[in-house]
Symmetry: C2
Subunit: 217 residues, 2 copies
């Protein structure tokens, strides 16, 4: 048995659980707006069409306690989820590649929170450098290196064409970026301590098509 020096505030959630937590959070925010003060796992499960036992288990990772017969306090639960997921911190990020997908993300966050805050966008296309998307200016790519020194940005969003993705990712790492949200199909080869979160659209399509084909026997 080992004692890791600093006490863990939260339990470590398995990834499937982690992926469900933002869904609960969105649902709870909707429910709070309707003025609901307490909500139970069975009610959450009914709305989200999932097993109430699993809801209880998932929510337990936040450390929040519910009351038998009553359920959880909506406000407390939202707060605990935001804290657990890190959504209440600023999480500033750079975006590289202000093309279609990139500008969609930039515009998106004006209306709805992503969980991270894009504070600057970079591109090499002189046609879009200097323009603004949402409230963010698109800057010359080379400016990234200079800006990275001043601001202490740890997250990079990669929405470039596939063929430059590896190079840009390496540049991001040199700028001190620790985690890359990769929307390209490129397979990034980076130091082990760098976190790469791949979000390929094909993955979702693959799952959708398969379920569709299976349903048609």
């Amino acid at each position: 048995m080992s004692f890791s020096g600093k006490l863990r505030k939260h339990k470590n959630a398995p990834e499937p659980t982690l992926r469900r937590l933002p869904v609960y959070l969105y649902f709870l925010e909707k429910v709070r707006e309707e003025g609901t003060i307490n909500i139970s796992a069975p009610v959450i499960g009914k709305n989200l069409k999932c097993d109430p036992t699993q809801v209880v288990k998932d929510l337990s990772v936040t450390g929040i306690k519910g009351k038998p017969r009553v359920g959880y306090n909506t406000y407390e639960l939202i707060h605990a989820l935001e804290e657990y997921l890190g959504f209440n911190r600023t999480n500033e990020a750079f975006l590289v590649g202000a093309g279609n997908l990139g500008s969609a993300l930039l515009a998106y966050q004006d209306n709805q929170s992503l969980g991270i805050k894009l504070i600057a966008a970079f591109d090499v296309d002189t046609e879009i450098i200097g323009t603004s998307i949402g409230s963010i200016h698109v800057l010359e790519y080379n400016k990234m290196f200079h800006l990275a020194n001043r601001l202490n940005v740890e997250i990079g969003v990669l929405t470039t064409p596939n063929h430059v993705a590896q190079k840009v990712a390496e540049d991001m790492v040199n700028c001190g970026i620790k985690a890359i949200w990769n929307f390209t199909s490129a397979i990034l080869d980076l130091p082990d301590n760098i976190i790469v979160q791949n979000t390929s659209l094909s993955t979702s399509v693959a799952v959708l098509l398969r379920r569709l084909n299976d349903s048609e026997k």
Copy 2:
């Protein structure tokens, strides 16, 4: 033991496997361009940083056979993966909500295949109705019902604001759409036979932030 009438051509892959298959496919296409004729699971594993045993198991769902000492024929494997994933069929789809994210998807598919083909886009905003994004015209939302009768579209892509998502999804179902690729945060309540593939951006962010926080002890 039951005999299900029609012989299954392929094995049923677990979802984690399914999610990895497009990654193999992308890598193999890159490798084919370089002229590689045969490729083994250990080589794939080394490049994609995953376990060679798992590669073998994953690829086996396609039914393709490799040769000991040699590996798999690149071309055959790509073909089998495309077939298994359904990427070689047209998979025509409607998109509703030609805002930021919607237009990004429309423009995206001009450069790179999504695995599905968006053939029409609909919106209610008179400012964008009549415009073209990529090679697709944005049509008046009400036209969807008429067009759905003529074309036999089974897939709907939902990129509307959250508050209209449920209504649009119901309309899609009434148009005969069987599978919905949902980019909104809305929790859709639809008949059980309708396939809903949720692709929420927050989910990815949640996983990324957690891994980042964990890495910082």
